[in-house]
């Protein structure tokens, strides 16, 4: 079931084209991630869905209703802001109750109590936001966004303001909460690991367009374009030019994941090269090598328990034909 449909949305800021006739559908109960670098248009798209920006062209359809011209308070969508935007002059309970009060919901106290329990904020009801830890603030922001039981919650970099140690756990909690409530989440992030680990589907945005929409596994293993491959974590891009490549299908360029490259004892006839190790980083479970060869630097990840070449050593690299993912552009 389609919950939200973005149809041909275009947005300009002066001469800059932030979104270029972008179309997208998001399903009921889906956790959807918009992944992209700065200037990719992901935040603009989120602000258009929330109603803070008006598109120059195109429609936003929510549950079959055109909401393109509705103001933010008229839309049933809520947003969790980057670094939360909690009201500093209200305590936790009043922050959570804010949306319920505006809607005139009956029995606000019970609803707030349920949310406090759901997000493990017991005992913090009377605290002001500046008396909370980062993780607690994040949960208050989430409770506030969920309070009116919106069909769709927008999350703007929900984990970016947290310490790295807290990020993974909070991400898993977010995912579990979304599954339990069945609410659709649309998350904007620049962190590919976050997008891949949390979302049902990920859209990679590049210069106001969608480069690829796919489930995380597919996106990772079959990136469609050079941008997607590069953005999804340092895939190597190989061009047939000077290399002897034999892939399963013809293309102008291929993505090759670092962990699909092996060290070989001799130079293979195809799908391999000679290279010099310029950098080596042992990471416990594995080791990352930077190897210069064929006019470029390849990232190679080898298992930690195996033989590791020395810094500056010459090595032979090889990979399977199936590891070469053809790129369309």
């Amino acid at each position: 079931m389609t919950l939200l449909a973005i149809q041909g949305v275009t947005k300009r800021f002066g001469a800059a084209l932030a979104l270029d006739a972008l179309s997208l559908t998001i399903g009921e109960g889906e956790f959807f991630a918009l992944l992209g670098g700065s200037g990719s248009g992901k935040s603009t798209l989120l602000r258009i869905i929330a109603g803070f920006e008006q598109p120059d062209a195109g429609q936003v359809i929510l549950q079959g209703r055109d909401i393109t011209r509705l103001t933010p308070p008229e839309r049933p969508v809520t947003m969790m802001f980057q670094s939360y935007a909690l009201f500093p002059h209200m305590n936790v309970a009043d922050n959570i109750a804010y949306g319920l009060r505006r809607a005139g919901t009956p029995d606000i106290a019970t609803r707030v109590g349920d949310l406090i329990e759901l997000l493990r904020l017991q005992g913090l009801e009377a605290r002001r936001p500046n008396q909370l830890s980062g993780g607690q603030q994040q949960r208050v922001a989430l409770a506030r966004a969920l309070a009116r039981r919106p069909p769709l919650v927008l999350l703007d970099e929900p984990l970016a303001a947290l310490d790295s140690g807290l990020r993974e756990r909070t991400g898993l909690e977010l995912r579990a909460l979304q599954r339990r409530l069945g609410t659709s989440f649309v998350m904007v992030t620049h962190d590919q690991a976050e997008a891949l680990s949390l979302a049902d589907r990920v859209a990679v945005l590049h210069r106001g367009r969608i480069a690829q929409v796919a489930p995380p596994r597919e996106l990772y293993e079959r990136p469609a374009t050079r941008e997607v491959a590069q953005f999804l974590g340092a895939a190597n891009i190989l061009e047939p030019g000077g290399l002897h490549l034999r892939a399963e299908s013809e293309a102008f360029a291929y993505a090759l994941r670092p962990e699909r490259i092996r060290l070989a004892s001799q130079l293979p006839e195809v799908n391999g090269m000679e290279a010099q190790v310029t950098e080596i980083a042992f990471r416990g479970g594995d080791a990352l090598l930077l190897a210069r060869g064929g006019g470029q630097v390849l990232r190679v990840v080898v298992p930690g328990g195996t033989f590791l070449p020395d810094h500056g050593a010459r090595v032979f690299l090889e990979w399977d034909a199936a590891a070469l993912v053809p790129l369309s552009a």
Partner: protein
């Protein structure tokens, strides 16, 4: 060096005049220049509490004091309400500098000139009355000058920038995302303003109120030029004691009393800002 200069200027320009004024309140009048005998002389204590007794001798001065505080309160409230709207507009404008310059523009014209302009507009044969009569809306001049309304108009016009400036500075720095968050949660424009924008600007609003209230309480010229002649304000009373009856101890005692009264709201404001 800078610290020393700061202390020296505070001592010379603030503390010393204050001590002189307070001391003068305990002096006695005498013919001569200046027309006052200091409370402490070569022979020791020679002052009196006569001037302070005058304050409470009848309700003349107390009434003047209350009238002044009332005028200052109304002026500061009007400036705050008008100033908040203006500051919000300026802070959200594309070129706030230009709008702020326009607000300050009246300050560039001389103070007396501005008052003269109000007189020219408001008097019986002035522009407004002439226009209204020409249009046939009124048959006789409408008494505007020398009324409480004219006085308030002049006061608000003169003191408005004092309220607009601190409010604009605060509102220009405010976090717009908080207002977006409120709108996102279903609040309309006015609700956003009253539940988020206004409460967060409350300290600046208190500062703006005081910045207007304190000088307005001692205002002499505007009530004198535009206001009704029968209601004496404290500023006018002090001026009269100094320059007409030449009773400097009485004038000094009145000034000290006014100052003490005005310290109350300042102390309150400081306590509130510390509590935050």
């Amino acid at each position: 060096m800078i610290r020393a200069a700061a202390w020296a200027s505070l001592l010379l320009l603030v503390a010393a005049p204050l001590v002189i004024i307070v001391a003068m309140g305990f002096g006695t009048t005498a013919p001569g220049v200046p027309p006052v005998v200091p409370p402490l002389g070569a022979a020791g204590w020679q002052g009196s509490l006569e001037a302070w007794g005058l304050l409470f001798a009848d309700t003349y001065y107390l009434d003047a004091m209350l009238r002044s505080l009332r005028l200052a309160g109304i002026t500061a409230t009007l400036c705050l309400v008008l100033g908040f709207g203006m500051a919000l507009g300026i802070a959200s404008a594309r070129s706030p500098g230009l709008w702020l310059a326009l607000v300050l523009l009246p300050f560039w014209a001389g103070f007396v000139l501005r008052l003269a302009a109000w007189v020219g507009l408001l008097r019986d044969g002035g522009w407004i009355n002439a226009t209204l009569m020409q249009l046939g809306l009124i048959s006789e001049p409408w008494q505007m000058l020398y009324t409480e309304g004219a006085m308030l108009l002049g006061m608000v016009h003169a003191y408005l920038p004092l309220a607009v400036l601190p409010l604009t500075a605060t509102l220009a720095k405010r976090d717009i995302r908080l207002e977006e968050a409120a709108a996102d949660l279903g609040a309309g424009r006015w609700v956003v303003c009253f539940t988020v924008t206004l409460p967060l600007a409350a300290p600046a609003a208190a500062a703006a109120f005081l910045l207007v209230f304190i000088p307005a309480a001692g205002e002499v010229v505007i009530p004198e030029v535009l206001g009704a002649p029968d209601s004496v304000l404290i500023g006018r009373a002090i001026w009269g004691e100094f320059f007409q009856t030449r009773d400097w101890p009485a004038a000094a005692a009145l000034s000290t009393a006014l100052l003490a009264l005005l310290l109350l709201p300042i102390a309150l404001y400081q306590r509130l800002s510390v509590a935050r």
